[in-house]
Every structure is written in C-alpha cells, then in structure tokens.
Symmetry: C2
Subunit: 235 residues, 2 copies
C-alpha cells in the first residue's frame, strides 16, 4: 500500500461490510493501490486485465466510444462501490473503459482469483454481488427500451426526470444541483450535445425548466413525468 | 407436481447441477409445475409475482412492448436454463414478460425465498448465478452500443453475423437453419419487419446471402464480418 492509502480504506466498500475488520485488512494487503488524476483511465477497454477495482475515494465513469469517437457512458460509480467486476468474475475481456472523474480517485485493485474466492466464501457478499448485477441489468434493460422506443428528445426528457427524482423538492419543483453538463447527459442517453442543448432550451422556453446560477429547476415535476409517460406507455 | 412432470425434471437445469439428487428432488417438491401452450405467457411484466421459472422442457422468450405495441425481445431461454431470476433475487417488479415458444414449455416455478436460500447456500450455484447475470449484462451492453452507434440496417447485419457464427460452416459460407423469422430479427435489434426484409433482400441481390428452402446461407462470412466491423469500429 502507498503511504497515502488509508489502512482501513476498504472499510468504506459497501460490498465488503459483511467481512470482519481483520479479513478486510487482509484483502487490503492483497490489493494494488493507486491514485488516479481526473480524466485518467484506470481500466482500458482493450487491455488484457481482469482485476476488480474498489473505488476507495473519488468517482469514476464507465464508458465506451463509437467508431466515430462519440462517448457512450454506462454509469458513474461512487466511492464505496466497485467497478470491473464482470471480467474479474467471468475472465472475459473488459466490456468498457473506466476513467476517474472530478478530483480523481483512489483505487484498490484486487486480482480476479482472490476476488472470486472472497465472493463465494461469504454468502452475504455473494448475494450483495448478485443484487448489484441485477441492478445494473435492470438499468441496461430500461436503456435498451428507451433506445428502442423513444426518440432522442424524449430520452433527454427521461434522463432529466431521473435527475429530478434524485434532486431535492420545493413544492411542485425539483432542484437538480449542480447543473448537469450537456455532454454528460448526451453520453448517457446516446445523443449529441447539440440535441441536449436544444431540448433543454425548448423546455426553458415552455416554462418547464428554469436555469439558476447553481441549479437546474424542473418547475413542475408531475408535468415532466406525464410528458415522459405519455410517450413511454407503461403500466 | 402434476402427473406429467418428470420426477427428476430439475436434473436438466444446469444451475442446479452442483446439488445432490436428493436436494434437487426436495427443490422439485417446493416448485409449482405447469405446462404452457405455444405463445402462452408464463410471466406477466405487470403482475406482482416474484418466482423464478426453471425451463424444464421447451423454449421461452423474454420480451417487452413499446407504447405503440411493437415487440422488443431480450433473449430466448432454452430448456435447462431459468428465467425471472432478477425479481426472485431482488424482490423488485418484473422487467419484462416471458412467453412460451414453439411446442410450448414445461415450467417449474420456485418462490423467491427458497430460491434465495438455494443460491446462497451453495457457492458453486452462487458463482454460476453471477456468471449468468454477467453474461446477460454483457449482451445488454453490446446491444446498447449497437443501438447507440449503428443504424437499423447495420444492426440487422450484426444480428445476421451472430446467427451465422452460431450456424454450421461450409468453406467460406455459414448456414443458418432453420430460416429465421423476419419479425424475430426485428424484435431483437429493435427495428421493423419491413427493414429486415429490405436489408436481407439487398444482401441477396449483392450475392452475400442465398435463400435455400430450409436455410439462409451467408456466402462469405468474412465479408459480412468486415461489413459489420467497418461500421462498429472495435479493437
């Protein structure tokens, strides 16, 4: 472990909670620890690696690129979570790349074999791992449905609704803070930054959205909800 | 168990192989067994069920519908596999519907609680379950990339390539038999039946595809491979 790696670093990893502190410290010693600068790549889609990466500090983004170089992002992974678990479990190539966001990230890489032993030795860890995979698969299924049935405009509406639901409420309004970056929204719903800019400006003109210095305000959450449900169908 | 349910029916389920025959028979007795006719629905997207469904005989299809009624299919599940495991594991609503194909299906439904106990009590079963979820997640990730970066024509090419790779070889050719139904391809790559018909007829005109009475022949697999790789990019 490098000098700046917290000895109890893995205590922050949700998946490893069921382990004893001693067992977690033993796992920490099996890890290769490294700090990554913002935008630095920690997992290369095309590299022949199979480690799992525990995100001890910071945030990372799972992403891929189209042949034309457009970014398609899959998920942002927060401190306390992990990434790269598929290749560590099944030994197959990486499905995407992972880069550090914001302030960078402190990562503990555990090789595939000890990760597999860890997961199978503890039923609670195994179940937590399965729930994590189910959660990712549900997200992917929703995205496939959106890509298959909604146009780019409506996918931006749907993403805005997801952000709004995670934000704080003020009466009928929902506050999204900080203001999301257009290119991030574009990469999450597989469209261009220009489309995102146009859809947000249309919503602002229609009075559904308000841009404050530090936040984006959805002025009537239920109206946005109806807009999305109308196109998506649903129960 | 109904009279026509084979006593050793669950012996065919790959996931349950690590269990002893006695343990499998005990699980079989906890199941609700039912035979479904072709096209009959065994899991309803909008119903409040959480059982896992073991496919003992026949084949089933996981699918959903757009607001406009277009079918989006996720995967076909063969005898020996299972379906509906996400809701059984995480207790959340169904992500799609499941219908019986071909000759119908014999299904053993196991309630969520005993399924969870089963999966966590046996490390090999837990690992097999994780590998299955990883495999589905990889398929979903590929599909998101295709939907995000390829037009409908190229998605049909990519699906044809997948079918050809699973088929038998004859020199440079690959034999796809039986002939796939246009609407099935359409539902798998999220396009219309008309687009599939047009793309296949274009390929036939260009001499890349040949329609025989009982099979579809990709006459030059490496040429189709290049066609797909050119658009998709890749390593």
């Amino acid at each position: 472990m490098p000098a700046d790696a917290p000895v109890a670093g893995l205590d922050r990893i949700e998946l490893l909670r069921p382990l004893s502190a001693d067992r977690r410290a033993a796992v920490a010693r099996q890890c290769r620890w490294r700090r990554f600068a913002p935008d630095e790549q920690l997992i290369d889609h095309w590299a022949d690696t199979r480690d799992v990466a525990f995100v001890v500090e910071g945030r990372v983004r799972v992403l891929s690129h189209s042949a034309g170089g457009r970014e398609i992002s899959f998920s942002d992974v927060e401190a306390g979570e992990l990434v790269g678990e598929m290749s560590a479990l099944d030994g197959r190539p990486r499905s995407a790349s992972v880069v550090a966001l914001g302030e960078g990230a402190l990562i503990a890489f555990l090789p595939a074999k000890p990760f597999q032993s860890l997961v199978t030795a503890h039923p609670e860890v195994a179940m937590a791992m399965m729930l994590r995979l189910c959660d990712k698969l549900r997200g992917a299924t929703d995205r496939i449905m959106e890509l298959s049935t909604l146009g780019a405009n409506n996918r931006v509406h749907a993403e805005l609704l997801r952000l709004a639901k995670r934000g704080s409420r003020q009466g009928a309004s929902a506050i999204i803070a900080p203001i999301p970056v257009h290119s991030d929204i574009a990469a999450r719903v597989s469209t261009t930054r220009e489309t995102v800019a146009r859809v947000l400006s249309d919503l602002t003109r229609d009075g559904m959205l308000e841009r404050r210095p530090d936040a984006l305000v959805v002025r009537d959450l239920s109206r946005l909800e109806m807009l999305v449900e109308d196109v998506r169908g649903g129960a």
